[in-house]
Symmetry: C2
Subunit: 536 residues, 2 copies
């Protein structure tokens, strides 16, 4: 069941944000309860709760609103720690026309999904490049920038302003006011969460790596300046530590692994490889630098995904020709992580690189050239390229990828050893993140980045940060799960000790020094070798 | 036990506002809990609660404060509906130097009491004329003024600004910042509560007399603009209805009648006579216009209490001379309610007014003059007066007082009939309010304003609004009692029907048409008559 189905199947009364259709008995001499208390009483009956309150900011306008509508109103409330609080009053029978927004606070890309409050259905989705990029490509640069005078406010301002712009565009399209967005969830890594809330991330990247807050209380939208209903609750996903953010909590929630009997793995691959293993009884998490090669930022021809970027590579088994797929079928401009993994796997299977990832000149033939003493492999000729320049893959590009994939595998290996599970016995392996959804698991197995499991055990979840955020928005159960997940997680601090380095060294081969761990790769290599021999 | 003793005997850990001395274990690689969560955890242990939170406004500053003090701090928390919330952090071992403020939001006079948070002892008290008076002497005029454009904001602004000025003066004297005031309670009538919170009182004085709110949630001091610690909780006493305000809830709390087995009465006399009767099982309340005569605003020579105002009058039994006491022993300028009651009682006992309250010329002698056809009784000669003018009591002044005292007695009579208690069987009769504390019960009995009880059953409590507010500030038990009181009260709507009018007519005599209700007055009159005969 994907998250959309889940939301649609969630009856509205399990939500923690609810629009109540209230038909109050107007006051009389025999019943002179105050307006606020009258509203609270009626709402309490519908909500089956004796803990209902009205925030100060909503008191002053109450009498006029109630009187103008003859004491009939759509009153929207939210629940936090067992207490219901009024968000706002709307004209009677405002059943549709109320929304909630889920936000994936990505450090590169921010995605906002607008959902209908009543049905939980998705109404719109907007993604935009995180405008903070102009102040720092990577999160570490931004953290340092936040330490400059006014830096934190600028970073927060850029993010919130752009987010507000997106929200405005979305409500305009629905023909309502921003006030009609009555709730929000936001999931991001720990630093992004700090920027979002205007908290100084200074100590996040300094030993012993302490966030300002792990589990922030819910805030009113107006507090961090979100331009939706001022009293809308904003639930910011908690983090487990500086290197394990709310985005991954949202990922766990999206995977549902915390509700299953059998043990599964969840991997979110980015600059950091974030790994969770566990089931309904326990969860263990671990994060480590997997290297930027996977994000496409470092390779000579590497790029972030976008039009013209190579995301799929095959070498035709018959003709030996490269079959390249680019995003939007534009002339090739560069390569992204998934393309790089495909390419490396193909080169390996063709024997063009050896098990250390080094080019094999006799196999590469003319495609291999030397530029300033560095071997380069021609992927796209200048004529076929969208840049007018040949696209080449250098030896250091492959070396970088191998370090990244080795780190990834070593992290998986380490956490599996810790919980005493064999990687090849994993029943379900969730891959999270936009990047994860592009990776071809077979290619990733071929280079030894992920365990050699039957392909059907790999489940690509897509943007789990957003899916988790949306789930928590429409379901009180999912919202509750967030804190269950956080409380249940044991965080495994990666010790880069001799044992780790040994595992890492063994993983720096394609697919691995221990070939028995990758039987499927062994079979493919044999097949290719037979073919190669035929060709030669 | 007066309220001061009560506060002193309250151990600090029963308070709902607490300063915790926290010595946090600084973060390390082995314990990388975030700063906020670290503080919450440590506070939770001391508070024995797993519901501790930090408001958004206090998150950003947290890391620096904790680091600058080596993770030692005095953290002040308050409890609301079972949840503890951080107010602020202070330097370690700030044991003294933290305060809370109780406010009596009187429509004429506002009183602020500053208490030491740690000991609950009173440190200072300031009272000032309610600056709203310049926009309307009486509360009704102000309610109408609030309906003018900008009127409500002006009324609120005047009150809050003056209050902030008083608070600033108080903290300056203690040598601390306004931030050191970490909590506040405020009790006032329903309209004053509305002005304080910036809520429109428009519907309070219009049928069916509906306040905006009966039981406001606690607000942060910054919300209505109180210039103390921005996150200090401000507890505004709830009202029972438009004519039964939080000041009277505070009064009940101050009396302790809700904890007693036997039934007592509590009377707060002002423009309205507010009456409560009950015990630990039930409370019934009733309010009605007792007439402004008692507040001294109407009588020809009437004034509010102040220097030179006559507050006590005796007629020397031997010499027949008037023995007049003025406030601060200044030359007499006018008379306040208590003086007027004394004077009227004395005139009645001397036979100078009859049982209808009409002057008896043959008894008054030269003191009685006619001005524009209205009889005036000379109280102070022009030579002895502080104004240079003779101070006289007119027939209409007495008529007004008699209407007021009749209303008072009728209200008492009505509520006593409703609960089926004989007025003369009341075991304890609490008199609340500054005015109440000046009244001589014997004089009030003599004119038939209050029941003819043995004098020791009358207990004058002073400013119960302030005492109740202070009690709720330093004791969680008292704070809880507020809502118990409010929930337990039955409000008796005074029906000015034929029965009421009959009772009222009977009470318009001195002391009453049914003299058997006032045996002590009968005895005094007999005594006086004997004396008078001797003199004559």
């Amino acid at each position: 069941m994907d998250e959309k189905e889940k939301a649609q199947n969630t009856p509205i009364d399990t939500s923690w944000i609810r629009a109540l259709s209230l038909n109050l008995i107007p006051p009389s001499l025999g019943d002179n309860t105050a307006d606020a208390d009258r509203l609270i009483k009626a709402a309490g009956l519908q909500l089956d709760s004796d803990s209902v309150s009205i925030p100060f900011a909503r008191l002053a306008g109450l009498p006029k609103t109630l009187r103008n509508s003859g004491y009939r109103t759509s009153a929207v409330f939210f629940k936090d720690e067992g207490r219901w609080q009024l968000i706002d009053l709307f004209p009677p029978e405002t059943d549709g026309g109320l929304y909630v927004a889920a936000v994936d606070l990505g450090s590169s890309t921010v995605v906002v999904r607008l959902l209908d409050l009543a049905s939980g259905e998705t109404r719109d989705e907007i993604s935009f490049h995180n405008p903070q990029i102009r102040l720092g490509d990577d999160i570490l640069t931004r953290i340092h920038y936040a330490g400059e005078p006014g830096g934190l406010a600028e970073l927060q301002g850029l993010l919130i302003d752009r987010l507000n712009e997106a929200l405005r565009a979305m409500v305009e399209l629905q023909g309502v006011e921003p006030r009609a967005i009555v709730g929000m969830t936001a999931a991001g890594n720990t630093a992004m969460t700090h920027f979002f809330l205007g908290l100084d991330p200074y100590w996040i990247c300094r030993e012993p790596y302490i966030p300002v807050v792990n589990a922030p209380s819910m805030v009113a939208a107006s507090e961090p300046g979100i331009g939706i209903n001022a009293q809308a609750p904003v639930l910011v996903f908690p983090n487990v530590g500086s290197y394990f953010g709310g985005d991954l909590i949202a990922g766990i929630l999206a995977s549902g692994m915390m509700d299953q009997d059998e043990v599964s793995f969840l991997v979110d691959v980015g600059t950091n490889a974030e790994v969770v293993v566990g089931n309904r009884d326990w969860l263990m998490a671990c994060a480590g630098a997997a290297g930027p090669a996977l994000e496409g930022g470092v390779a000579n021809m590497g790029m972030m995904a976008g039009p013209g970027v190579i995301d799929r590579v095959r070498i035709d088994p018959e003709s030996d020709r490269f079959r390249i797929n680019t995003i939007d079928d534009q002339p090739p401009m560069g390569i992204c992580g998934s393309g790089l993994i495909d390419l490396t796997a193909a080169l390996f299977l063709k024997g063009m690189i050896d098990l250390r990832g080094k080019f094999v000149p006799e196999r590469c033939g003319e495609r291999l050239t030397d530029m300033d003493g560095i071997p380069h492999f021609l992927v796209v000729t200048a004529e076929a390229s969208g840049t007018g320049q040949a696209l080449t893959l250098s030896q250091p590009d492959i070396d970088g990828l191998i370090r990244s994939k080795a780190a990834m595998y070593t992290i998986l290996n380490t956490i599996a050893n810790t919980v005493n599970i064999s990687l090849n016995e994993i029943k379900r392996f969730y891959v999270a993140g936009t990047f994860g959804s592009y990776i071809d698991p077979q290619s990733a197995i071929t280079i030894g980045m992920i365990p050699d499991l039957p392909l059907d055990r790999y489940v690509s979840l897509g943007n789990t940060s957003l899916i988790g955020a949306a789930a928590a928005l429409v379901s009180a159960e999912a919202k509750k799960d967030i804190h269950c997940i956080r409380d249940r997680i044991t965080y495994l601090e990666l010790n880069v000790n001799q044992e780790f380095m040994n595992l890492f060294s063994a993983a720096k081969f394609i697919p691995h020094t221990d070939r028995s761990l990758f039987p499927s790769v062994k079979r493919q290599v044999s097949k290719e070798n037979i073919k190669n021999e035929n060709i030669e």
